[in-house]
């Protein structure tokens, strides 16, 4: 059986990949993709903790949480893409460095 720590490392690796994507890319859609990766890293953790963690396995909390996160990630993506389209219509760019009207 694959031990819990391997899953946790995989999740941490995925989270770091997403983090890098969200921080290094300047394109709003690419940043959104990084954010989705990070959410899915949390999902791996949840399911791994459900299967190998300290709680009883009949308690489906980890799975239920993961399913809800998938749903919320979709809602987030929908809102985010709609905002990105709105920005693109207004400014003809989705490069976050070029969004500089607000600064103090």
């Amino acid at each position: 059986m694959v031990p819990l720590s391997w899953y946790l490392m995989l999740a941490a690796f995925l989270f770091s990949c997403g983090l890098y994507g969200a921080l290094a890319r300047r394109n709003a859609i690419a940043m959104l993709m990084g954010i989705e990766l990070m959410l899915n890293a949390a999902n791996i953790n949840l399911v791994a903790f459900w299967r190998h963690g300290v709680g009883p396995m009949e308690d489906l909390t980890g799975q239920a949480f993961a399913v809800l996160i998938i749903g919320l990630a979709a809602a987030e993506a929908a809102v985010g893409l709609a905002l990105i389209i709105a920005v693109y219509r207004e400014r003809r760019t989705i490069d976050v460095d070029e969004l500089d009207l607000l600064s103090g």
Binding site: L8, A11, F15, G18, A22, A28, M31, L32, I35, M38, L39, A41, A42, N43, N45, L46, A48, F49, G53, V54, G55, P56, D59, T61, G62, A64, F65, L68, I69, L72, A75, E76, V79, G80, A82, L83, I84, A86, V87, E90, R91, V96, L99, L101, L102, S103, G104
Partner: protein
């Protein structure tokens, strides 16, 4: 569980349910209306729904707390936070009513999202389960992302929405990763169960501290604590001012409520480990917030940094981590709701005078007392209250929080808090001085502009806020008894 009991106990979520049904009714009315008619009806309807929500909270006030489906509880603390959020919601809807050009067309969407944000915020205060906590956070966050971009004619508004979204979604991934680690540590998503497992030596305590650190990023972002505050001034400035007013109060109340409940019911046994980092964050937040607020030229950005500083003050209560501290925080948020929304309302009224630019420069306030005596007087009261000058509401908020912190042995933190209040008085009073004792620079053309009367609903909001700030200040004991903390 018994079906009948499930329905009976649903009464603990009555305010949320009332609002949820209200949102559906609102959407139905919206798709039934023709063209641009009836946006005033929608506004009236949403105010009525929110008032029904307040009625529902008052109805279940004082009931013995029942935990519903292992996910939500309706204790005194939850009810207090609900009240703050519902009041902020009503005032926010009233302010939005005549503000937007877009609201004639898209009023249904706007008010539905507004009510959804209120629902999410209220759930945040009742959540006793990581899953409910996360869903509540997302409900109000998603609604607020859209609301802050609602002023489509203004390029800054949509840019603010995009920034808020990207950073907010980024922060919520940390939050959810932290939730996953806490679930791994305690083997359950229920706060009390996590506490039980960890306190009896079970579980996986090594995961707790990384979990707290990640959750702190998520919460810190929502309440704008200092290393995570970069979005606040931009979003507050770019978002439509009525939305900013509602958001500044509602988000803080909701996120702090969730944060308090999580830390104090799931992780009280780790208080020694998390109190010191939070205390350092509180010091950073207050100091950076106040010092940066000194340098702002825009009123909205100044209020944003002042909001950051206030978040630092409330964090002191969490560091103390006692029941008295949580009720002090509820009182603080209650007072903050009125004074902050009041200040933003006056800003809205001044925006109308100076040509609807979705912001006011502080330099234009010079001599405002002469032109708008009532607005200036109201603004002065809100500024004095925000800076914590007795006997106004803001003073007692700070006083109760500091008192609870001293009792819990955090005197050094309180000293820093008091010093920071002194710094903050400078930039609040600067506005008062500008309005009353300075002459406008180009007196000629300023005076020629005709006076634009403020809308009736914003006059109402200002009057209510002034009355509340004064009454809470004169009778603090009454309200402090009414608003409950955790475990009281």
């Amino acid at each position: 569980m018994d079906t009948a009991l499930l329905f009976d106990n649903a009464v603990v979520l009555l305010p949320e349910l009332v609002l949820a049904v209200g949102v559906m009714v609102l959407m139905m009315v919206d798709i039934g209306r023709r063209g641009q008619n009836g946006s005033q009806l929608l506004a009236g309807l949403s105010v009525a729904i929110l008032l029904l929500g307040i009625g529902a909270s008052v109805m279940i006030w004082g009931r013995a707390p029942v935990e519903y489906l292992d996910g939500a509880i309706s204790d005194g603390f939850a009810l207090s936070v609900r009240l703050v959020i519902l009041i902020a919601g009503v005032l926010g809807v009233l302010l939005s009513r005549n503000w937007f050009p877009a609201i004639e067309r898209q009023g249904g969407a706007f008010y539905s999202l507004h009510l959804l944000a209120v629902i999410g915020m209220m759930l945040m205060g009742t959540a006793t389960n990581l899953i409910v906590l996360f869903i509540a956070l997302e409900i109000f966050s998603l609604a607020l992302y859209i609301l802050s971009g609602f002023y489509r004619e203004n390029a800054r508004s949509i840019e603010a929405a995009m920034k808020y979204f990207l950073l907010g979604a980024f922060a919520s991934t940390f939050f959810v990763y932290g939730c996953a680690l806490l679930y791994g540590a305690g083997g359950s998503s229920k706060f009390t169960q996590i506490h039980e497992t960890l306190a009896t030596g079970g579980g996986n305590p090594s995961l707790v501290l990384p979990g707290i650190a990640l959750l702190l990023v998520g919460f810190g972002f929502k309440v704008s604590l200092v290393p995570f505050h970069m979005w606040t001034p931009d979003v507050y400035q770019g978002a439509p001012t009525p939305v900013t007013a509602f958001m500044s109060v509602g988000t803080k109340a909701a996120a702090f409520a969730g944060f308090f409940r999580l830390m104090m019911t799931a992780l009280p046994s780790f208080h020694d480990q998390w109190a010191m980092p939070l205390a350092i964050l509180a010091v950073l937040t207050m100091t950076v917030g106040n010092l940066t607020a000194l340098r702002q030229s825009s009123v909205k950005r100044m209020l944003a940094y002042s909001g950051i500083a206030h978040a630092g003050n409330i964090l002191i209560a969490l560091v103390a981590g006692t029941a008295a501290a949580s009720s002090a925080a509820a009182f603080y948020l209650f007072a903050y709701a009125f004074m902050n929304i009041g200040a933003f309302t006056v800003t809205i009224a001044l925006e109308r005078q100076y040509g609807n630019e979705n912001d006011v420069e502080q330099s234009r306030l010079a001599g405002a007392a002469e032109r708008f005596p009532v607005l200036a007087a109201a603004m002065a009261i809100f500024m004095l209250s925000l800076s914590g000058i007795p006997p106004l509401a803001g003073f007692f908020g700070k006083f109760l929080v500091f008192k609870a912190a001293v009792e819990a042995g955090w005197a050094w933190l309180v000293v820093i808090g008091v010093l920071n209040s002194a710094v903050s008085a400078y930039y609040y009073l600067r506005i008062v001085v500008a309005m009353y004792f300075q002459q406008p620079e180009q007196a000629g053309d300023e005076k020629e502009q005709p006076f634009v009367p403020a809308s009736r609903s914003s006059v109402f909001v200002v009057v209510v806020s002034v009355l509340a700030v004064v009454v809470i200040g004169l009778q603090p004991g009454l309200w402090a008894d009414l608003l409950r903390g955790l475990g009281q």
